[in-house]
Amino acid sequence: MTSGSTLAIEATGLAKSYGETRAVAGVDLAVPAGAIYGVLGPNGAGKTTTIRMLATIVPPDAGTARVLGHDVVTEADAVRGLVSLTGQLASVDEELTGRENLVLVGRLLGHRRAAARARADELLEAFGIAGAAGKLVKHYSGGMRRRLDIAASIVVTPQLAFLDEPTTGLDPRSRNQVWEIVRALVAEGTTVLLCTQYLEEADQLADGIVVIDRGRVIAEGTPGQLKASVGNGALHVRLLDPARRPEAARLLESAVGTVTLEPDPAALSAACSDADRAATAVGALGRAGVGLADFSLDQPSLDEVFLSLTGHLAEEPAPATQEAS
């Protein structure tokens, strides 16, 4: 069907404006099939609008996109038959029960009543919602609602799943469960496009990441490449005795490189991304008898990646694209 193409999504110049707001201002995407692809960006970056164009919910103002080989405008119906959407606002009906939600989707996709019910029960059981199957979704916890939402997206397993901020607002335990489900989806062959504001989430799950800000792609690559493009990691050291810090700083300076003294009077760090040199430096401290409380070698975090790419932190909404409402 996709005639040998290994790209699940190919978009060029996608753009969408709402009045004066350029929600998406020319986005190119090349998402390989069979992997998790992360779309990372702060509030208002245009993630949801991008997903909504790719899921054929709103037509783009400009640009083109092919999803699994089908144009999102001229072959929208074919695209809909292959994808599923788990939206940012929970895309389940709060006024129905969990079970009714899944039966509804099953019926809409063409299952007969008995088959729709059987599939609903199978999913409720697998996703740990069976106990609340008869409760109205508005009484669900955030984690249960999210799991139900994803369950509704796999009533018929899609070839490509759009997940828009699937873990926003979840506690770590619920978040881990969602991550496990996403990994299971990909393991069974579904391509996942995952929007997130959490750098850690993209780092944990995604094989490839595109960073968008104010409607534009500002970086693209694997998590490792993005980190490398920002430069060095750091060797962090914390001493037992703060009084030895000047001596430790001298030793680290000569073993690895530029040293930064941290606010904690017993801590210091040195720019370094090579594990062998870090080991040598730690050895030198040990031979000099500088007692260590602990040490670690960090890769740069995606937070730092974001800061260096955009000049502002991920948590700060970009002033030009703040929501009007």
Binding site: L89, L108, F127, I154, T157
Partner: protein, 277 residues
């Protein structure tokens, strides 16, 4: 949570098994899809039956108020006026209920589930058609309340039960056509209260400047001309004729044509609005 509560965590192995069964059934037909959305509407009524209060209380108040407050003054006696006004009130209360279809749709649009519907491979007008089919059940309910109350108060349809049912059916079909207009309004306006206010701002004058409450023969010329072409008057005339057991073929045909015309014009408009908002 009790000690025997079922597992509340996802079971990764079971999730993988569920994902692995990828059977995709053949797509359902347009009507089956719309009926599934109608079923969704029924479920909502089942879970929140209080929402029917509007539909039942308002018509009861209308009947009591008009019969006992205005009846004596307008027709000499309450029983004579009840005989005149009841078919009109049937029209009015069911037609008013159509505004709530627009309100419900407007509320629905703020929910994330709409994006799921829009991303499913289904016949595009199905969510709207299904919702309006579901709403028709409310129309039947509102109309039944009026008829039962009217009979309890002494109203007697000369056309008998068959005439009354035919009248109810006509009013419900007309309202289904009109509800497409309010769906469009519900998609254009920003808030549910704007839809409600806007809806009644149009329906109040249309209903009062009709033959629902008074015989238009007493009205001054220009006003009477308006009342005569007002579709609500035509529908009231048709309804009265059916309940009286003397069907007015022209009025019935015009009422049905207006309903069909409204649906034909507003179904595509509404479907496009639903997609683009």
């Amino acid at each position: 949570m009790t000690a025997t509560a079922p597992r509340t965590d996802a079971d990764t192995a079971a999730v993988r098994r569920a994902i692995a069964s990828t059977a995709r059934p053949p797509r359902p037909g347009p009507l089956a899809t719309a009926l599934t959305f109608g079923w969704r509407g029924m479920l909502k009524i089942k879970h929140v039956p209080e929402q029917l209060i509007d539909v039942t209380i308002t018509p009861v108040l209308f009947v009591l108020m008009f019969t006992y407050l205005f009846g004596g003054a307008l027709a000499g006696s309450t029983s004579a006026y009840l005989q005149y006004v009841l078919p009109g009130i049937l029209v009015m209360s069911v037609v008013f209920t159509t505004v709530y279809s627009g309100v419900a749709l407007n509320t629905d649009l703020t929910k994330g589930v709409v994006d799921r519907f829009r991303s499913l491979p289904i016949w595009r007008p199905a969510p709207l058609l299904g919702a309006l089919l579901g709403d028709s059940v409310r129309y039947v309910l509102a109309g039944t309340v009026i008829l039962v109350l009217g009979v309890a108060l002494g109203y007697r349809p000369e056309g008998g039960a068959a005439g009354a049912l035919a009248a109810l059916a006509l009013v419900v079909v007309f309202s289904f056509g009109l509800s497409w207009v309010y769906s469009a309004v519900g998609l254009v306006l920003r808030s549910p209260s704007a839809v409600l206010n806007g809806g009644f701002m149009v329906l109040f004058p249309l209903t009062f400047l009709s033959n629902v409450f008074v015989d238009p023969r007493t009205l001054p010329g220009p006003l009477r001309a308006f009342v005569d072409v007002n579709p609500i008057s035509v529908l009231a005339t048709a309804t009265r004729s059916l309940m009286a057991g003397a069907p007015d073929g022209t009025a019935i045909a015009v009422s049905l044509a207006v309903a069909a015309g409204l649906a034909a014009v507003f179904l595509p408009v509404t479907t496009r609005l639903y997609r683009s908002r």
